[in-house]
């Protein structure tokens, strides 16, 4: 199958790209890694008039830490996240995710920004961004705008980005002492989309009490789900196994799964409960420095 006809443009810098979108934003799609967009175009589920390829714009592929944030350029490939020693040593949930998106060849092309902007609730990064309390830096005609993950994911395949904006960078609050995170994914075969996925990041204070937590659920709703009751149940707790199980049960209740080829709604809800408990336990271990 071949995509429907389109015009291809490859700007050399972001300004050029934004100017193009100001004129044609409603008829254009931004091409990053292309591993969601090109299949959609081949199936004619997406038929943009213009394809704006941002791969020729320099300076959008990087991973670095500043005083308060981890910064990931929108065009950073999954493979680079997977191979990053900084991420392996300090951002475990991202490291867990990066090694489990599709397969290694897809990870050579697929990008962090593309995954996020695609806003497929079955993709692994949106839920991870919720759990990590990430913010997205978008560039548009009026300059830059910062959007929280919670606001960013609006619906299936829909984000808060305007047609004239391009995602430039993702900010993730820096890992502190006592922070641990994890991503758990259930897939029915290697490289498949998640049946269910759970992302968690929490920070324990010096007494081992949970002072902050973020959770995100993959593939159990029209958009990624932040189970707020499950989060609230953990704050101020020592995170005993009972407390973890209680929170996991709340997360399962907050999930909105539907039955499909990957499983029934009941099965997925049960898997949220199981994976949430496992992810929380692993994050606690990591926060305590046990693994």
């Amino acid at each position: 199958m071949i995509p429907a006809s389109f015009d291809y443009v490859a700007p050399r810098n972001l300004d050029e790209g934004i100017r193009f979108l100001e004129e044609h934003g409603d008829d254009a799609k931004v091409l990053a890694g292309g591993h969601s967009l090109i299949p959609l175009m081949r199936l004619r589920l997406a038929t943009p008039k213009y394809l704006l390829d941002i791969n020729r714009i320099p300076g959008l592929e990087y991973i670095r830490e500043s005083d308060h944030h981890l910064h990931i350029g929108a065009l950073t490939r999954y493979a680079d996240v997977e191979d990053s020693l900084l991420i392996q040593s300090r951002y475990s949930a991202l490291s867990d995710v990066a090694g489990h998106i599709a397969d290694p060849l897809v990870r050579n092309m697929g990008t962090v920004g593309g995954n996020i902007c695609h806003s497929d609730p079955a993709n692994d990064l949106p839920a991870t961004m919720l759990a990590l309390k990430a913010t997205m830096v978008a560039v548009g005609p009026g300059g830059e705008r910062v959007i929280s993950a919670e606001e960013f994911f609006v619906d299936t395949f829909e984000t808060a980005l305007k047609p004239t904006e391009i995602l430039r960078e993702v900010h993730i609050p820096r890992t502190r002492v006592g922070t641990g995170s994890a991503y758990m994914k259930l897939e029915s075969r290697a490289g498949d989309l998640a049946v269910v996925g759970v992302a968690v990041r929490l920070t324990l204070d010096a007494q081992g009490t949970c002072e902050s937590v973020g959770l995100g659920l993959t593939a159990v709703g029209p958009k990624v789900i932040q189970p707020k009751a499950a989060e609230a149940a953990l704050i101020g707790k020592k995170l005993s196994d009972d407390e973890i199980r209680q929170s996991a049960s709340l997360a399962a209740q907050e999930a909105q799964p539907t039955s499909d080829l990957r499983g029934t709604a009941e099965y997925k809800r049960e898997m949220v409960r199981t994976l949430a408990a496992r992810a929380l336990r692993r994050a606690v271990e990591r926060a305590r420095g046990e693994t």
Binding site: Y8, L31, R42, D53, P104, L105, V106, M109, G191
Partner: protein
Amino acid sequence: MSRHHISVTVNENKHEADVDSRMLLVHFIRETLGLTGAHIGCDTSDCGACTVILDGKAVKSCTVLAVQADGKALLTVEGLAKDGRLHPVQEGFLEKHSIQCGFCTPGMLMASYWLLQRKPNPTEEEIREVISGNLCRCTGYVKIVEAVQYTAQKMSGMDIQS
């Protein structure tokens, strides 16, 4: 639809062509260049039969546009053998009888080649992981893994156990 003049180095030879914006890289390779080693299997970036090396990275050429390869270097399975001599990874596949119907073989070779470039002594787990995006419908994975192990040993000059 826009047309684009592209210049791509393929197996160390420079090629120039005018391509439609919607032409996929695998079609450029097979139809414009006539290199039919890269296969079209699933068409949806699952099966890996179309795997080629683009600027040093193994990618699925069914999910890349030909125009995206402008200015880049491409290695296809036809470029593995040099001066009439098979690349060690090709010899490994022959030696270990790792080919059944052969449809997945070019993709398997390119993914394995890419792995060995990065990790000359991969573990079995690393081999299985790297070919996890390459499907063998004959399910001949055991022999493929053995071929990559054999190649790794051969390339490092170690004794090869039968």
